[in-house]
Assembly symmetry: C2
Homo-oligomer: 358 residues x 2
């Protein structure tokens, strides 16, 4: 029997509900695939702020580091919105990414045949979309220094940040992206703003250098403003997209909305070694928290990514993915993807149906 330790970070809002469902899914899948999971649940985000005064307690980070993979629910909520920066739930998430050194954020966005109507895009535009955004996650303007507040030479107040990338940071994310594209349809689009920013010119130069190692992958480059347009015009043109931290934040959210089913989308954040971080891309949805209305499928699919990318358990991952598709085909829908003709269920019941399908 294979044994893994998983750190669960339920977090805030609907986080605990979706994590509890995903845990059951992992347990059942494990028992069928000969895998045993040891779960450690730790506080993080607003929940940790309330409990310990900081958004990422040291013990949470060290537990996460010592485990084989980390599954996060969601963080944040109105309650902590006005907090100072170092006391925001979001800061805990950035510290977790930095602490786990998970520099590569994989965000798939595909339109499932069962859910094509959920997209605000016309059917013929949305149908068949299947792309992956590979976002650099621990560098760029999110972490660049100098940053802060100050005064300029005219005695005026300023706020400033630094967008900065070094060779190794670009090289390693480019390699992840090329490897990802190779396993998909062999097309990689690198998104930058190289007509204006030096950081982007350097990005493009390094991506082109790494491309020599992957002659089988077709590399193109696109400016970020154009990419934002092309995602709306014809999202099907994309296979794998690689981009920096801030552009990836924007474009991956845009891409996920194009699928129309944010409640369905998982993500994986991977480092060079050590545990990966897996989380649904949706937020903590404080307005529906505790009402058993949340869609647990994004977290269940994040658990599948955890198995595949985090533990190399591809069969177990496939079992979960197939079960999710089967559950959708059997007509079960949570409120966010309900369109009138199907069976409306809550978070727990959706989880139970996935368990049945497994």
């Amino acid at each position: 029997k294979r044994r893994y330790t998983i750190t669960l970070l339920p977090g805030d809002g609907i986080g605990p509900e979706v994590i509890s469902v995903a845990k059951n899914v992992l347990n059942l899948t494990g028992s069928l695939e000969g895998i045993e999971f040891g779960f450690k649940e730790m506080p993080m985000g607003g929940a940790a702020l309330d409990l310990t005064g900081v958004p990422l307690p040291e013990e949470t980070l060290s537990t996460a580091k010592q485990s084989d993979a980390v599954l996060l629910g969601a963080i944040g909520g109105y309650k902590w919105d006005k907090n100072e920066k170092h006391l925001k739930p979001e800061t805990g998430l950035l510290q977790l990414r930095e602490g786990l050194k998970v520099f590569a954020n994989l965000r798939p966005a595909s339109v499932l045949p069962q859910l094509v109507d959920a997209s605000t895009l016309k059917k013929e535009v949305a149908e068949g979309v299947d792309l992956m955004v590979v976002r650099e996650l621990t560098g760029g303007i999110y972490f660049g220094k100098p940053r802060g507040f100050g005064m300029n030479e005219n005695g005026e107040e300023i706020g400033f940040n630094t967008e900065i990338y070094a060779t190794y940071e670009i090289d390693r994310i480019a390699r992840v992206a090329f490897e990802t594209a190779r396993k998909r349809r062999g097309k990689l689009c690198s998104v930058d703003k190289a007509n204006v920013l030096e950081a982007s010119m350097f990005w493009r130069k390094r991506v082109m250098a790494i491309a020599l190692e992957y002659p089988d992958v077709e590399l193109t480059h696109m400016y970020v403003d154009n990419a934002a347009m092309q995602l709306v015009r014809n999202p099907k043109q994309f296979d794998t997209i690689v981009t920096n931290n801030i552009f990836g934040d924007i474009l991956s959210d845009e891409a996920s909305m194009i699928t129309g089913s944010i409640g369905m989308l998982p993500s994986a954040s991977l480092g060079e070694a050590g545990p990966g971080l897996f989380e649904p891309i949706h937020g903590s949805a404080p307005d529906i928290a505790g009402q058993d209305k949340a869609n647990p499928l994004a977290t269940i699919l994040s658990a599948a990514m955890l198995l595949k990318y985090g533990l190399g358990e591809e069969e177990a991952a496939l079992r979960i993915e197939t079960a999710v598709l089967d559950t959708l085909s059997r007509g079960f829908r949570t409120g966010d993807i309900y369109s009138g003709e199907n069976k409306l269920v809550g978070c727990k019941e959706m989880g139970d149906e996935v368990l049945k399908s497994i």
Copy 2:
């Protein structure tokens, strides 16, 4: 008779074609409204590079500065794509914006009833969209220093830029945005990334300070990743959006693609004093240049913005806008907005039909 000097910058690709049509439209409108235009045509972008070796010759900038308004076609093309940064057509555009000190970029994106089918969004989502992006244009990461290439403490190559805003820069763009919102539906959404970036926290603080001068305008704040999603999910929720240079670059292009008719969209760039810069938001489209296929309506509507925002000639502006709508209602379409049922025309013929409508 009112007299104005207009600098025309045809630029590259389809630029000369659309500028020539817009010039005729301005002349006819002027003769009907008692306005006389003196036009000065100057080289800019790739055309200027070929002629003079720089993308914005001094004479072009000084002519532009001395005129009452500047109308630009489009710049750029494959030919100059590999040029070094200071020899790129785009650099000429940035120098022109900086030289004219046009810090406020107004980019309307509305879905005309005649063209609702052109959008890739479902009819019920696209129909009625009418928003305005107010983008800061002469600050932020586009112009921030330090910038460049170098080495970090580990001897690794780096590329870097600085996102930076000072009080006066935010205050003046915020005022333009509040004034704009006041003349529209009274709703302003400020877009930033204040959960991560100090430059954005400072942006938000100043926008909130300026809001006190505009108690009649309803101000909201949105993170840029969420804004990129909301534009796809429900663009109708927006009236006026204000944001920094780079986020504005991305979001205004996304918003324009949502209308489905990029060939229709004008823009205005305004300073505190001095001539404004008016240009269609589409590019130079080198693939169709010189083939009389370009849609001149974006440039014609830019000429209308020139009259309204640049010269205060509101009636003349309205005359042009009405003529464009009338031409569309009469069924004339260039290739980019043609959907099979209407009269397909080229650039010149479209211009002639607008002249008839005027």
